[in-house]
């Protein structure tokens, strides 16, 4: 017999988790199945809504002002501005004290590891002291063995970008790290567990050794930025200890993949799933589906098939949410001849000639960046004729098309808004 639930969410990233949480809040019995790890580990951990318009205007001061003008088919246009607001406050409840930014509609400007600033709606508390709108002078600290963050360069870039403060960058060696290619989790573990390390001054604890190293380079700055490797499970404690020892505020600069703030967000979300009673299974793909016997109208999915190393396990639910990600997450795939959605083969609008999928200017308006499913306002994916593919399937997050999240800085916001709407509607329909 099948494993049965009210709502089955396929995909374990921000959109999938949000829709599972929203459906559970709506009273449904929810299961989330996810294949490989989500792209949250690639993510900065910032929750952006809209940083730039599709035409490239920005950075936007207030993303909500711009939502009404988005073109038809954009995921925000599909769900509407109120849903974006509801989804953000839903996220605020889930994230609690771990995130900041809910006091205003305006975008915050968060310095990134390249020394640019990113407009974002919510940010982890670990980055709060580092905002670019804050006029206090700043010391950025990089590590010799972590070339992803070149602190002097990032500081110079911030100043050139017109940040209203003096920024200075120094590079030091990280006490206790000997490998040139130690993993970011190794740095975080050393600080989390405050392991003992040997420095020139003898044996001491990792946090103390790091503070001592940095203190010697401090020239009166009252805030110090580190690459985002300051602990994992005990990040708040690590930051507080360093701040105490340095007599300065300490913040993290979000990094590229793999990213600790992304991993912390993932942990936070999965903890929320557990608390909400959502059942999860990871590591196994959905490989197929069966529809209910034809009733003349739009087809309904009866069950999907999960592959467990060759054993095919049917999972049945009343409502389904597809949140498998975009081209990177492999919720949308391409071959030479076509672009497709691999589980339900939902329609993905794209040019038939693959030379029309891209433009030569790398940073130009790339058509492929907008590839994905085209949904109705209920977020049901539509077929080539504009009819819902299935009556009980909704889609959320990067599997949707019609927007370029990298250019707009809208990835997290679209995942939250569409995930929230898809999950809420799915639970409502179970009741009906």
């Amino acid at each position: 017999m099948a494993i049965e639930d009210d709502v089955l969410v396929i995909g374990g990233g921000l959109a999938g988790v949000t829709s599972a949480l929203a459906a559970a809040e709506g009273g449904a019995r929810v299961r989330l199945v996810t294949y490989k790890q989500s792209t949250l580990r690639h993510a900065s951990g910032l929750i952006d809504v809209l940083g730039y318009t599709p035409d490239g205007e920005g950075p936007l001061v207030d993303p909500f002002d711009a939502l009404a003008d988005l073109p038809e088919g954009h995921p925000y246009e599909r769900v509407g501005t109120d849903a974006v607001r509801d989804a953000l406050s839903f996220f605020d409840d889930v994230a609690g004290a771990a995130y900041a930014g809910e006091h205003t509609d305006a975008n915050a400007l968060v310095p990134t590891h390249g020394g640019t600033v990113k407009p974002t709606a919510r940010y982890p508390v670990s980055t709060a002291s580092g905002l670019a709108s804050d006029p206090r002078d700043t010391l950025l600290v990089g590590f010799e063995t972590l070339p992803d963050f070149e602190a002097p360069l990032a500081a110079a870039h911030l100043e050139a970008a017109g940040a209203p403060f003096d920024a200075r960058g120094v590079t030091v060696s990280f006490p206790g790290i000997v490998r040139d290619d130690a993993k970011v989790t190794r740095y975080a573990h050393l600080l989390d567990r405050d392991e003992s390390v040997t420095t020139g001054a003898g044996e001491t604890s990792a946090r103390e050794a790091l503070a001592t190293t940095v203190e010697a380079r401090l020239e009166g700055e009252c805030r110090v930025g580190f690459p985002a490797i300051l602990g994992d499970d005990y990040a708040d404690e690590v930051r507080a200890d360093l701040a105490d020892a340095l007599g300065a505020d300490v913040f993290e600069v979000p990094m590229g993949p793999p990213s600790l703030p992304g991993m912390r967000l993932e942990d936070l979300l999965y903890k929320a799933l557990e608390d909400a009673g959502v059942r999860t299974a990871s590591g196994v793909p959905v490989i197929g589906y069966e529809t209910e016997s034809e009733s003349g109208e739009t087809a309904r999915i009866d069950h999907v098939v999960v592959d467990r190393h060759g054993a095919e396990i049917p999972h049945r639910a009343d409502q389904y949410v597809l949140a498998t990600g975009g081209l990177v997450g492999k919720g949308v795939r391409s071959e030479r001849e076509r672009v497709f959605e691999p589980i339900f083969d939902c329609h993905v609008p794209h040019a038939s000639d693959r030379y029309d999928w891209f433009v030569d200017d790398v940073f130009g308006e790339q058509p492929y960046a907008r590839f994905g499913l085209a949904p109705d306002r209920e977020l049901r994916p539509l077929d080539a004729d504009g009819e819902p593919e299935f009556a009980n399937l909704r889609a959320a997050g990067a599997v949707l098309g019609g927007y370029d999240f990298a250019a707009e800085k809208s990835g997290a916001g679209v995942s939250l808004a569409t995930g929230y709407v898809a999950g809420t509607r799915a639970a409502e329909e179970v009741d009906e």
């Binding site: 494993i3 690639h42 290619d181 190794r186 999860t280 590591g283 060759g310």
Partner: protein, 467 residues
């Protein structure tokens, strides 16, 4: 698939006419071509952030190096496999971490096999020790033949001291005790398959199953070494739970699943064991049985590693028809429905999902199943690795790393509102017990208490009423 394998560029004039000749970027075609996997790696390093060893061990370069990068380096011809591959604990977490379908554990297994074959001194203490650990299955019968003596001798501090000095097996751990009667001895004494057949038929009649004669309700039990020699109570629980549902059980001849051999790079040993298992289990499938395993590493091995590494006739068939014991009941029976209304008196459990369960998508099932039983709860202690990884944590040089990895799990177990541990993996169970001093149970034992315990009580009542 790379462009070199399927070049159908219709924009090249005359391309259709010419037979395609792939460019040989890398020399020598191998029997196992890992190139598509290596090509899929786009260096996101997600695997590295999932590696429990790289997080605590400064000398381990992580799965991205061990897998795709080392595979590429090897194409240059003059590179040996880096000896750091022996520090991989074979937890296989990198497999399900990878968002790009790189077969990391397959790459690790082949690299480790090649390292042991070509670079390891066959007379070295390390090789001999690893061979002994990997072939536990061959020594266990001796211990099991004289369990009391063996347990006594192994418990002596002089034995442990010798083990550490001569073999490099840590003296910090207590070797697992041998049961006074193996599962197979119990099974034979109980009357083997014939008795099971009879009991299953009775159970089906009692359950009101439509078909009392039902050849579809037949499983072949892959018990593995540990539940045979050390924890037969787990194997017996499986038998009783399955018979409760009306299943007839077969216990085919079997060898070690191969997991400890893969982990130690003893691929020849693993191949021999796999050959026996595929032959015997394949025959059981012919007889209409599905394969069921109670140890998550055994099922992982049969399902994933066999098809990745071996190509005996029936390998794929065995893989596709092998199930985890609880998963099988959830899909073929209404397990949760059956458990509704049952109750178990006793304490709550601190549950740890083994990495090899996690990789099979089974990490949530014990919590769900125990939820349905009244009177007890299982608290998930999080997604960290226990750190022992089979034979890994038994090696003196890995003991400290193993305990560092386990620290998070120990803390969460102690934070959980429970004094007994629960898991499906024998070596995770050793680590859980070692780190906390708790008694550790298997999920099947809980199911037995809920389902069969209730049967027994009812029978007893009936007998009393009858007189």
């Amino acid at each position: 698939m790379s462009d070199a394998e399927q070049p159908t560029d219709d924009h090249v004039p005359g391309a259709e006419d010419d037979e395609f000749e792939p460019v040989q970027v890398f020399p020598e075609a191998e029997s196992m071509d890992l190139r598509p996997g290596a090509d899929n790696c786009y260096k996101c390093s997600t695997c590295d952030t999932n590696c429990p060893v790289a997080e605590v061990d400064d000398e381990f370069p992580g799965p991205k190096f061990q897998g795709p990068e080392q595979w590429r380096l090897k194409r240059q011809g003059d590179h040996d496999i880096d000896d750091s591959v022996m520090k991989c604990s074979n937890c296989m977490r990198c497999d399900s971490a990878c968002p790009s379908e790189v077969p990391l554990s397959q790459m690790h297994n082949t690299a480790r096999g090649e390292y042991v074959e070509e670079n390891m001194d066959k007379f070295s203490r390390e090789y001999i020790r690893n061979r002994i650990l990997a072939n536990y299955r061959r020594l266990a019968p001796l211990g099991a033949a004289f369990p009391r003596t063996a347990n006594f001798v192994m418990g002596l501090s002089v034995t442990k001291w010798l083990g550490e000095k001569t073999l490099g097996i840590t003296s910090e751990r207590d070797l697992p005790e041998f049961a006074t009667e193996t599962f197979r001895a119990w099974w034979t004494k109980r009357g083997g398959n014939a008795t099971s057949k009879k009991r299953a038929r009775e159970a089906r009649a009692k359950r009101g199953d439509a078909k009392v004669e039902n050849p579809d309700k037949r499983i072949a039990y892959f018990h593995g070494c540990y539940s045979n020699y050390n924890t037969p109570e787990v194997a017996k629980a499986l038998v009783r739970v399955y018979e409760h549902f009306g299943y007839e059980i077969m216990v085919p001849e079997q060898s070690c699943s191969g997991t400890p051999m893969f982990a130690n790079g003893m691929l020849d040993d693993a191949r021999r064991a796999a050959e026996t298992n595929v032959r015997e289990l394949g025959a059981a499938i012919e007889d209409g049985a599905d394969i069921v395993a109670s140890c998550s590493s055994c099922s992982m091995s049969l399902r994933q590693e066999y098809p990745e590494l071996f190509d005996f006739e029936n390998t794929k068939n065995v893989a596709e028809n092998t199930w985890d014991a609880i998963e099988y009941l959830r899909v073929h029976e209404d397990l949760e429905g059956e458990l509704e209304g049952t109750s178990v008196k006793g304490e709550d459990f601190a549950y740890h999902a083994p990495c090899h369960s996690r990789n099979q998508g089974l990490d949530g099932q014990t919590i769900e199943v125990v939820d349905a039983i009244d009177g007890i709860d299982a608290h998930d202690v999080g997604d960290s690795c226990s750190g022992i990884s089979g034979t890994y944590g038994w090696k003196a040089e890995n003991y400290e790393t193993s305990m560092k990895i386990g620290e998070e799990m120990f803390e969460h177990m102690e934070d959980a509102d429970a004094e007994t541990g629960l898991t499906e993996c024998p070596t995770c169970s050793m680590q859980m017990g070692h780190g906390t001093g708790y008694e550790i149970k298997h999920t099947l034992e809980v199911l037995e208490a809920a389902l069969v315990g209730a049967d027994r009580d009812a029978d007893r009542r009936k007998r009393q009423e009858a007189g």
